[in-house]
């Protein structure tokens, strides 16, 4: 466990200084690479569609450079020692997503560009405001309440909006957003704060069930509460993907905090019971399962989307048909939930594998940050935030490929969607903050890498 060292003084120690400089140089280099890939993909997609270079290629290049440089300079200024991989991977995913959104729908592309700007502003703001991640721990209960409130907000009669069968939207005048996207960060903060405080109690095994030492059953309360909230989300908002995500988030954080596998087992049992009961009680859950098992039972109706996604992926084959050259008017929600099918069609297995590897690197960097943070609030928060991104990407891609039943969540950074993009930028800013802080506060910064 890391000893507590005072926050960084005005003059950083030489090691810290050197690490920061090296990491930022690496980051800048990787950002240039990401930008070149995105720019190339953008040009190719336009060549594929219209056989001409995009008219706005120079402004596009300018916007990329401004956004990337703004984020990079902010990190240089306010989180100098943070991890060097996260931002380039995010830039790559966000840029690639934008290329495919622009290729599908010009109007959405404009909006997505705006949201990217807002997202990077939120990213910078988060770095500026959250100078010490432990501040968040202090307000854990506030975040918990805010999280639950955000989650329940769409259920309000006036503001709540039913869109595409899920009640997860809130409209304030012309602006509508998905509060659930922000709720997940608030809840991750709450879970990390709550569990880092109680991990000693929750981790003590005093109770024997058969051959296992388990914690006192009274300590299972929080698990049951999280499970209950998830079920509520399923029942009232019909948002299976988010429910699964919240439950996973809590379970993972609890398990990492206590080291007790029994919580995971209990969690999966509860999940199984909840899933089974939902399946017997709710037609929308039954629909999802039957589509998953056999989409060809109703190829023109309920199975259409998943079948068309499979056709798009198969059409792409190993190396894809080329950016801008796919047949893309067939999959409903192709710019949000199903964007990976379009990437798979035009970039092939190589493209989908690249996306998988990018998320895997993102998850790996997140977990490395968690490990580097010792055994603190920061560790648990990093674990929670990383799990959110990694599992959300997994849930939607598994749904598109029929590995799991389809549950509508966005592919982080890649899908079209303002709420998702902005909240994920905040999430990455928090990870960078934890990373920066753990280096600065480590007694031996080089060992904390």
């Amino acid at each position: 466990m890391t000893a507590t060292v005072p926050p960084s003084s005005a003059t950083p120690r030489p090691n810290v200084q050197a690490i920061g400089t090296r990491r930022r140089t690496t980051e800048l280099g990787l950002l240039v690479l990401s930008s070149i890939i995105v720019l190339g993909a953008y040009a190719l997609a336009s060549l594929g569609r219209n056989a001409s270079l995009p008219a706005d290629i120079l402004p596009f290049l300018g916007v990329i450079l401004v956004l990337v440089l703004a984020a990079h300079l902010a990190v240089r200024r306010w989180a100098r020692c943070s991890d060097a991989l996260l931002l380039p991977i995010v830039a790559l995913l966000n840029g690639l997503g934008f290329v495919f959104i622009a290729r599908l729908d010009d109007q959405l592309a404009g909006l997505q560009a705006t949201w990217t700007g807002v997202g990077i502003a939120a990213f910078i703001l988060t770095l500026v405001v959250v100078r010490d991640v432990r501040v968040l721990q202090r307000y854990r209960y506030t975040f918990g309440l805010v999280g639950v409130a955000l989650l329940l907000l769409p259920l309000l009669p006036v503001f709540g909006q039913n869109i595409n069968g899920a009640r997860i939207w809130v409209a304030f005048g012309p602006v509508s957003f998905q509060p659930g996207e922000f709720a997940k960060i608030a809840l991750a903060i709450f879970f990390a704060g709550y569990l880092v405080e109680r991990r000693e109690i929750l981790g003590v095994a005093t109770f024997r069930v058969g051959p296992f030492n388990t914690p006192d059953p009274r300590q299972f309360g929080p698990v049951l509460v999280a499970w209950g909230i998830s079920l509520l989300v399923v029942i009232f908002q019909r948002d299976l993907g988010s429910a699964l995500l919240f439950f996973l988030l809590f379970l993972v954080t609890l398990w990492v905090a206590t080291g007790r596998a029994v919580y995971v087992v209990l969690g999966f049992v509860l999940f199984g019971v909840g899933a089974f009961v939902s399946w017997t009680q709710f037609s929308h859950v039954q629909d999802r399962v039957s589509i998953w098992l056999d989409p060809w039972a109703d190829p023109a109706g309920s199975g259409y989307q998943v079948i068309q996604a499979a056709y798009a992926l198969a059409w792409g084959g190993t190396s894809g048909v080329g950016p801008g050259l796919g047949i893309v008017d067939r999959i409903p929600f192709d710019e949000t939930d199903f964007i990976v099918a379009i990437i798979g069609e035009e970039l092939g297995l190589l493209g989908t594998t690249a996306v998988l590897v990018a998320f895997l690197l993102l998850a790996g960097s997140g977990l490395r940050i968690a490990k580097g943070a010792g055994a603190t609030f920061g560790t648990l928060l990093a674990v929670g935030l990383t799990s959110l991104v990694a599992f959300q990407a997994f849930i939607i891609m598994a749904g598109v490929t029929r590995l799991l039943p389809l549950t509508g969540v966005t592919l982080p950074f890649v899908s079209y969607g303002g709420s998702s993009l902005v909240s994920n930028y905040v999430l990455v800013a928090l990870l960078l903050r934890i990373s920066d802080q753990s280096i600065r506060r480590a007694p031996d910064p080089l060992a904390a890498l």
């Binding site: 084959g317 998320f359 977990l367 590995l403």
Partner: protein
């Protein structure tokens, strides 16, 4: 905590490896199956937005081409000759799929074969497209002769070159207009398809090679071949008795000659006069079931010819004639189903043949016993007119020994010289033929009229083989086949030989 974080990383890794496996499964291992599913129109949509090669007849007439339109689908398939070549080209429809050459040479027409792709690669900087033109062996002028000779009677005409299997004519009546079926307006095309499917004569069934019929007396050529191959029959022996009917063992139902006429003699005589009694007797008493089955199968029965068109029908010769009841010395064993064997010898009972198969029987006799692989493609040309691929002629089956083929050829020439096919004679050419009247019922008498023939310069190998069927005629006399199918066959044969 470190341990849990490492395990969490492993769990995430497992999830993503599962995804990677799933992506591989869909994008690589199942890709072909998914792309080929009938409700997956991606391939089709791409094809309709890219140029497609033309189909050209042997005499240089444009049979099908793609016309550029300003519409959602960029290309519309056009068939300038209407229904004349529909049985060969088929149709090419966005909503209904494709048939004929459009289907069997789809990759060549779309430019997806390796040879065409390579050409596109070498011309990478000159902006050439890779689609190929299919040049047919079928001649437009012969199609017209066949169409005019058959008129509006249902039936079919097949003419081919016995030496290499090149199909010169493939006409089925009634035909259909592929332009309507190929309309990019799917609603209209579907309506036309529904209408055509409802027509009792089934115009979409290309009867020349997709439908089989009783071959009737034309099958006697195969029966004679089996007799010769079994060595129990020669040109001079046996001399069959002149009788009005032959009664096989185990039945009182005799096989009678047409009109109850007395008929008999040696091989050439009984073929020229088409004696039912003699051929029934030959199959039962000289040849026996095993050589009959073997010879029929060597001509191509019980199989579909490997023609380069989709869905050719099988021709059928029965293989089950019951058990051996008796083994008389010096004769083939007698089977319990001898009456059935006797009927198959004259092309009745369960024998079925496509017009194409009967043309191949004539071709096999004409080409010294070798049945060629029939084909409609002559060559594939690239956009610049250069030949990318040429059809390599092949022998499909060796039906009979050359000596037996020569005997059969002589016997068939005899049918024209002094037999039931005298109307087939063409001045200046040697023509061999065999008539057929396949009985469909006796009250009222109905029949299919048949003619199979070959012709060529005297003393040289025949260059054309023909089979004609005129369906479902009223009446069933010995002349029915010769008088109905004969003139059609003669017209096509004469035109193909360049006579008159």
């Amino acid at each position: 905590m470190r341990r849990q974080i490492a395990l969490l990383g492993a769990a995430i890794l497992i999830c993503y490896v599962a995804l990677f496996v799933k992506f591989n499964q869909i994008q690589v291992f199942q890709a072909d199956a998914l792309n080929g599913r009938s409700d997956n129109t991606r391939q089709l949509q791409r094809d309709f937005n890219e140029p497609r090669g033309s189909i050209i007849t042997a005499d240089g007439v444009l049979a099908a081409f793609s016309e550029e339109r300003r519409a959602t689908l960029r290309y519309q398939r056009v068939y300038p000759e209407g229904d004349l070549l529909a049985g060969v080209t088929g149709y090419y429809s966005f909503g209904l799929g494709s048939s004929g050459v459009e289907r069997s040479y789809n990759d060549e027409l779309a430019g997806r074969t390796t040879a065409l792709k390579l050409r596109e690669l070498t011309g990478f900087f000159t902006d050439t497209s890779s689609e190929g033109d299919v040049v047919l062996t079928v001649r437009k002028d012969l199609q017209e002769v066949a169409r005019d000779a058959l008129g509006d009677r249902p039936g079919a005409v097949v003419a081919l070159d016995p030496r290499d299997g090149a199909v010169l004519t493939l006409w089925s009546s009634p035909s259909f207009d592929p332009n309507q079926l190929s309309s990019n307006d799917t609603t209209q095309a579907t309506a036309v398809k529904e209408f055509l499917d409802a027509v009792p004569q089934k115009p979409l069934l290309i009867r020349a090679y997709q439908e089989n019929y009783f071959p009737g007396s034309t099958f006697k050529v195969v029966t004679a071949a089996a007799g010769l191959e079994s060595r129990a029959v020669t040109a001079t022996t046996p001399d069959y008795p002149v009788v009005t009917e032959y009664t096989p063992p185990f039945t009182r139902q005799g096989i009678s000659n047409f009109g109850g006429a007395p008929c008999g003699g040696t091989l050439f005589v009984i073929l020229a006069r088409s004696c039912n009694s003699s051929f029934a007797q030959m199959a039962v008493e000289q040849t026996g079931p095993d050589p009959m089955v073997a010879t029929a199968e060597r001509f191509g029965f019980n199989d579909a010819p490997p023609i380069d068109l989709p869905d050719p029908a099988r021709s059928v010769y029965p293989t089950d004639f019951g058990e051996i009841v008796e083994r008389p010395p010096g004769r083939p064993p007698v089977y319990s189903d001898a009456p059935k064997l006797a009927q198959t010898a004259i092309g009745q009972n369960d024998v079925r043949a496509t017009p194409l198969q009967m043309a191949l029987v004539a071709a096999g006799v004409a080409a010294g016993g070798e049945v060629p692989v029939p084909h409609v493609m002559d060559e594939i040309r690239a956009r610049d007119g250069s030949v990318v691929e040429r059809y390599e002629p092949e022998v499909w089956r060796k039906a009979v020994a050359p000596a037996d083929a020569a005997t059969l050829r002589q016997a068939m020439v005899g049918v024209v010289a002094d037999g039931t096919a005298r109307n087939m004679a063409i001045q200046g050419f040697e023509v061999g033929a065999k008539t057929g009247t396949a009985q469909l019922g006796t009250t009222p008498p109905r029949s299919h009229g048949w003619m199979i023939a070959f012709g060529g310069r005297p003393g040289q190998d025949p260059t054309v083989a023909v089979a004609v069927i005129v369906e479902n005629l009223s009446g069933a006399s010995a002349e029915t086949g010769g008088s109905t199918a004969g003139p059609v066959a003669r017209a096509v044969l004469a035109a193909a030989l360049g006579a008159e």
